[in-house]
């Protein structure tokens, strides 16, 4: 399944609905769907907030596939080059009084998805995430 939408917050619900449809069609376990939901929310929100230097409409493509062992999620955009895997790790042992506010989005992506891979190709960011099928 491929979902194409634009860099506008009001289009995010379309992505969520598509994930829910895909999850139902493929009978994805709830934890698998929830992990993908969270990772996509974090990454797409980051794109909407930071990827574009202009106010023009840009296409974002999300591809969902399932091979019986894992859910594969690929996000492709033409925003500024950004490799989320280079973001610093979050130290969750730091007391909340001292904890930096940022960095939690990528932390959640790292912890809830099993693999994250990034490449820059043809002026586009391509992030691929996988989550094993588990109940």
């Amino acid at each position: 399944m491929e979902i194409v939408f634009h860099n506008r917050p009001e289009e995010k619900p379309r992505l969520l609905r598509a994930l829910e449809v895909f999850a139902a069609e493929h009978r994805l376990p709830a934890k698998t769907r929830q992990a993908a939901d969270l990772a996509l929310e974090e990454y797409v929100t980051n794109l909407l907030n930071h990827a574009y230097a202009d106010t023009a409409l840009h296409e974002i493509r999300v591809r969902l596939s399932c091979d019986g062992r894992a859910l594969h999620v690929e996000v492709e955009d033409d925003g500024r080059e950004y490799n989320p895997l280079k973001a610093p790790l979050v130290d969750t042992s730091i007391p909340l009084e001292e904890r930096p506010i940022g960095g939690l989005g990528i932390h959640l992506m790292r912890r809830f998805m099993d693999t994250l891979d990034y490449r820059r190709q043809g002026g586009r960011n391509i992030l691929r995430m996988t989550k094993r099928l588990e109940a």
Binding site: K12, L38, P95, L96, E97, G102, L104, F112
Partner: protein, 101 residues
Amino acid sequence: MEIRTSVSGNTHELLVAGRVDGEGANQLELEILAAIRANAQSIYVNLSQATFLCSAGLRALLQYWRQMKNSQRLLLVTRPSPEVDAVLATTGFKEQMVEKV
């Protein structure tokens, strides 16, 4: 997402139902601010009916947890749903921000 507020003295409970995504986090922040303006000494954010919590929601909770603590007041999360509990645990928020029962 819906938030119902119940007030008992200086204690405010915010019952959050639904999805705390980016938009939900903004709504949650407004409700917390309303409670603070109403001079709440304790704010309990009941997440038993929340189905989703993202980093925007965590940032809002952290910001106002700190603000309340710095003024000797209290903000705690109560009864997180399993989905929300997993997010709070993974980010190290659970120990200090979730009410212990």
